[in-house]
Amino acid sequence: MNTVNSDYDPVSAALKQMHEAVASEPVPDDFMRILDEIDAKIATAKSLQ
């Protein structure tokens, strides 16, 4: 348990913890599929250069 001191902002701390909870999740496969499509386009572009 942490007590709130004068230079501690509990709202910011709570918001940052919410952010960190989502940001630390594994990236779902749907995102990887988008990146795979992008990678394929980049590979095609490189082959044409």
Binding site: P10, V11, H19, V22, I34, K41, I42
Partner: protein
Amino acid sequence: MNAPSPQSAEADQIFRDQLVALIPSLRSFARGLCGGREMADDLAQDAMTRAWAARASYAQGTNFRAWMFMILRNQFYTTIRKNSRMTSWDPEVAERVLVEAPAQQEGIHVSDVAKALQKLPAEQREVLLLIGANGASYEEAAEIIGCAIGTVKSRLARGRKALALLIDGPDPDNQPRAHIIVSERGKRMIAAE
């Protein structure tokens, strides 16, 4: 995703790598805006697809995060105009955040902050998410939202006050009373800044 690119493959690769690095923040910002996980991830993916299609309009070396958040935010407002369900709270997130928080004694859990956040007007919520959660500066938030820095500051102040009122209820002395319990991890994140 099918728009022809006038850029080089190398520039596309740099763009792609920046996009990958930003996925966690995009998902977090979208989750805070939408509340629900599935809708938020759909929003983040839509933003990524749109950003890729519009990559020629991004100037390398400028603030990529601001550019991406702007796309995601614009898509969010476009979507909520069509779908009023996007303000629902995701109980799965609440449960996990509660696990990370310490045992409740006196005060309020992070999950209560998250629930209260979804009750705020979107214009206040987005400022709290950008500055409070993602660490954006006033200037960056103003660039993303497309408003003056003074507007960002006033929305932030109103949002924080409304959040405290939603969490604690009205204060008889008219002062916000935020007694929020945050885990050691959350405190370390603050201290590290």
